[in-house]
Symmetry: C2
Subunit: 657 residues, 2 copies
Amino acid sequence: RIALPVFASDMLSSVTYATQEILVFLSLGGLAYLYLTPWLAGAVILLLLVVVASYRQLVRAYPTGGGDYEVASKNIGQPAGLTVASALLVDYVLTVAVSVSAGVDNLISAVPSLDSSRVLLAVLAVLLLTAVNLRGLRESGTAFAIPTYAFISIVLLLILWGLVKIVAGDPPVAESAHYTIDPEKTHIAGFALVFFVLRAFSSGCTALTGVEAIANGVPAFRKPKIANARKTLLAMAVLSMAMFGGITALAMKAKVHYVDPADSCDLGGFDCTTQVQRTVIAQVGKAVFGQSVFFYLLIAAAALILVLAANTAFNGFPLLGSVLAQDRFLPRQLHTRGDRLVFSNGILVLAGFAILLIVAFDASVTRLIQLYIVGVFTSFTLGQTGMVRHWNRELTTEQDSTARSHIRRSRVINFIGAVSTGTVLVIVLITKFLAGAYIVCIAMPVIYALMRAINKHYESVAAELEPDDGYESMLPSRTHAIVLVSRIHKPTLRALNYARAARPSTLEAVTVGVDAEETAHLQSEWDRRGLPVPLKVLDSPFREVTAPIVRYVRAIRRSSPRDVVAVYIPEYVVGHWWEQLLHNQSALRLKTRLLFTQGVMVISVPWQLKSSEELEARVVQAHKERVKAAIASGIIPPPPGKDDGGVAATVPAKDPR
Amino acid sequence: RIALPVFASDMLSSVTYATQEILVFLSLGGLAYLYLTPWLAGAVILLLLVVVASYRQLVRAYPTGGGDYEVASKNIGQPAGLTVASALLVDYVLTVAVSVSAGVDNLISAVPSLDSSRVLLAVLAVLLLTAVNLRGLRESGTAFAIPTYAFISIVLLLILWGLVKIVAGDPPVAESAHYTIDPEKTHIAGFALVFFVLRAFSSGCTALTGVEAIANGVPAFRKPKIANARKTLLAMAVLSMAMFGGITALAMKAKVHYVDPADSCDLGGFDCTTQVQRTVIAQVGKAVFGQSVFFYLLIAAAALILVLAANTAFNGFPLLGSVLAQDRFLPRQLHTRGDRLVFSNGILVLAGFAILLIVAFDASVTRLIQLYIVGVFTSFTLGQTGMVRHWNRELTTEQDSTARSHIRRSRVINFIGAVSTGTVLVIVLITKFLAGAYIVCIAMPVIYALMRAINKHYESVAAELEPDDGYESMLPSRTHAIVLVSRIHKPTLRALNYARAARPSTLEAVTVGVDAEETAHLQSEWDRRGLPVPLKVLDSPFREVTAPIVRYVRAIRRSSPRDVVAVYIPEYVVGHWWEQLLHNQSALRLKTRLLFTQGVMVISVPWQLKSSEELEARVVQAHKERVKAAIASGIIPPPPGKDDGGVAATVPAKDPR
Ligand SMILES: [K+]
Ligand SMILES: [K+]
Ligand SMILES: [K+]
Ligand SMILES: [K+]
Ligand SMILES: [K+]
Ligand SMILES: [K+]
């Protein structure tokens, strides 16, 4: 069996709206141009074949999951790689916006009264996905498999049943078959006609969105990964073509008349004030199945696979962020996998932009798709171009003639891929620019510039931190330790004890005399207890705490610049965020300020309050569950050895100096 | 000369609205009851005398600036003190809301076209005060003195000029003299009449708001502080009485007819659709001065002193917070004076609630005052009751008969003060409860409960931290040092050097093997440089960083529980917030997690990036300027010695163990 489900939903879900988008743009010319539908669908299917063939080459050459980003970076260069990365980040946002909007459209096709809450429903769906993913979805392969296979089955059944009905002489008739369409322009000719046809073709190319997701998913396939990934690609291509072709054919046969919902009042015979256009797939379903349970199953499966498609973006977006972070184009902490906080940030960013787009475009699939295809085809074109270069380079080293002919064949495939997707990209840019593609053309360079700036910053810091030779032998002469004291309690005493155990060159306790009475009390208590460390009181004429300590540390450093000053700060560790507000605030500020001082190290000596133990237990438990869930869902492999991650407590050899 | 200005504005500004509030409530009975005005004004003046006499006793007995809070706490008990504190916190918020709203009303009296932006103007004024105070106002005494003296002068001139005109046989006539007022109820008698009169009296009592501010300001007076504070109180009382009495008399004489602006359409002869009622003080001013420059000076002075009154709350609110924090009723960090961040929080909280009230009550002075007086009179009553108890206690110890008779006299004064303010408080609660006072009656207990909860938390933590005897001798046996390493650069090498200089019992470098390639590279670089510390690689099957380190530290502790583990973490110190996002995030998380572990100390070894130096310079400069400004405005005394706060760099004696 082939590992379809996880990545399949993004690609397969495209068939729910691709036919419709061709019809929307052809119907702008009235009923006259609908005859072009099969031609355009055929062109899209051809393009899909070319792209899938191209990706089958790519997957074999770059099985590490870097996808188009890796291919473009390695073969064309950093700017191309970053362009692909920008395109993919945009792509993920639009995958969510488009899929959710299309899902809501299908839902409305079954329950038309929901039409007035279209945008709200889409936003709620995004929020739901966000919550589920923030919570840490325990998705198993099966959870994805069932709706995916259900969708494939019901669509194939739809096509089959439709064919049976046609053969039986009872062809399906859509509810919109008798509607008439007033054309936008009565007469289209010459260049306008070319533009008109290409614009409809561009929108149909949305059938290809999701192919790029496979290339990023190779590592998740079962072994042999490459072979499985290639087989999956082929299977999905065949399925996609069959489903897209079948739906389009049935829509033609049943005379589905569909216009952009924004223009539905132009539809003759349709009362746009009381009725809602069903999606094309819903209309085909109704025409074939009638308003039977199969119709509702079809709608449910379509809506569900669209939600799954949106969900894949919630996995892919943070993952791409992680790859970009590893290459220092995004903040480094995004690289750390299994870090919930970071993934949360990625999820929130993705959801935020998706909601922004949904609201800005009224959850209109037609309008959102004009943005969607730009990013996808940018990625296609640069990835395939990279592949051509890759094969060129291979040819310079490869000697074996069979291998060389293999490479030449692959190069031809990727060349055709690059040229055709590049052509489509140009067509998309020309026909969709003013309709929304310009937004992506602004967003991508902005993202690009941001990533470049982050990278530059990291590079300049790395240069600044490059150690000079011999730096490692510049040891400080002595360590002066000071323990900050405000009152005598267990945390203070622990800090004193730790400091004494470390045997510094000098050691003293330091307090800031903000309040004369408190200071006198501290001093007498200090003497009463006979603490074996001298207590130094710093004047604070302005009743500040931080400034006198910083000045004192500076003074010590000034008088012995080759030494290091170790500042011990007793800290409470608390279990609740509100406790954090009640404690440690001045310690926190002081630490921040001290770290700006040369020749200082700041030592936090924690005292764990009882309330902290609960929190610690919760954190440990949550971590264990997260790891378990990640293993269960196959995101990370099971541990090689014992539960403690294979770390043995080997206390290192004594005094390594 | 007497140090009037800083606290004077709060008290003196009350005369701009007190007369008006009496008129508003009497006019609800039509013109019939306006004859009561002088009687009510007389009662208010009498009450003012009583309260000021009471406060003159309080100031002498408690010159430390704790005011009613201190008196109530020490003499009645913590609940009473906390009640006063809650009342005062509410009082500050309302001082801002009322003063700003009244100021805007006066501004509108001069420029009626601004009436449509009343709420907006009030909110903008609060935001302006917020910004100025956040910025760190460099107020000098003079800046406050000029408007205060200007206000006193122009009001006294107003009264004098009014008298001259009356004597000259040309009495002032208000623009509203010919307006008629439809009474709310045509016939008021019995209990309803009592309620009616007392309600008007309650509102007139707003003339007393601000007296309580003096008691908190004693420490800021010139020496002899107590004598000066008492003199100031007396002078302000005389001035207030004269101004309030004079304005009220002139308003009567000029037949000012004024109703709640919300009901201005009920005013016969007044076109509420095109006209705006001027404030009472503005109407008196216009009647006396005509629309001359003196009229505009009066309005300007009134508006300005109201803004100053609001500003005193911006100083007083954080200051009271500081006192409450010292007593552990608010987060401790609020105590630290000169701490900008904390004062900023206080300022923002004050501004936020003031804006909330202004918006909720449409910047209506009349409605806000019904809330205002509750807090003020709660504070009065409990303060004076505390004083009676204070004198009772004094009598039990005092033997000298002259002193005893002095104390008895003081006790009588405070007793009268307590009884009369208590009576007024009851009147206020009865007559104003439903009109808004109930909000304060909800807010105060909420604040009270919050402060109790905070206090309880601090007490339970203090008990938890109380050191057992002998705790100070429980020294750890050995110190195991580990230095966390991810790459070899200057920060890492510095951390290694500092750790080596500290001569721990054992020392090793530790890295987490997230990426095999990176780890191998680190290991070979480590060997190449011949670093004299062993490098330990921790497995990380789940590609985590934090968990393996925490587990390793725990393992060390388990194998030697009496030792302490010192974890050295190299950190970058950066100059911009966005750099902070790009660095140190995993270090921060790791530190937080490690601090939850028993027997660990976490050592931050900072490496200052170049960008940090600028920030440090800015911080130091800002601090210097803040101190300078605080000295200039007399908030803190000038430093006793040198610029460095008197700290000399005395490196302590060697090895104190
Ligand atoms: K597809
Ligand atoms: K898709
Ligand atoms: K996609
Ligand atoms: K007053
Ligand atoms: K006041
Ligand atoms: K006040």
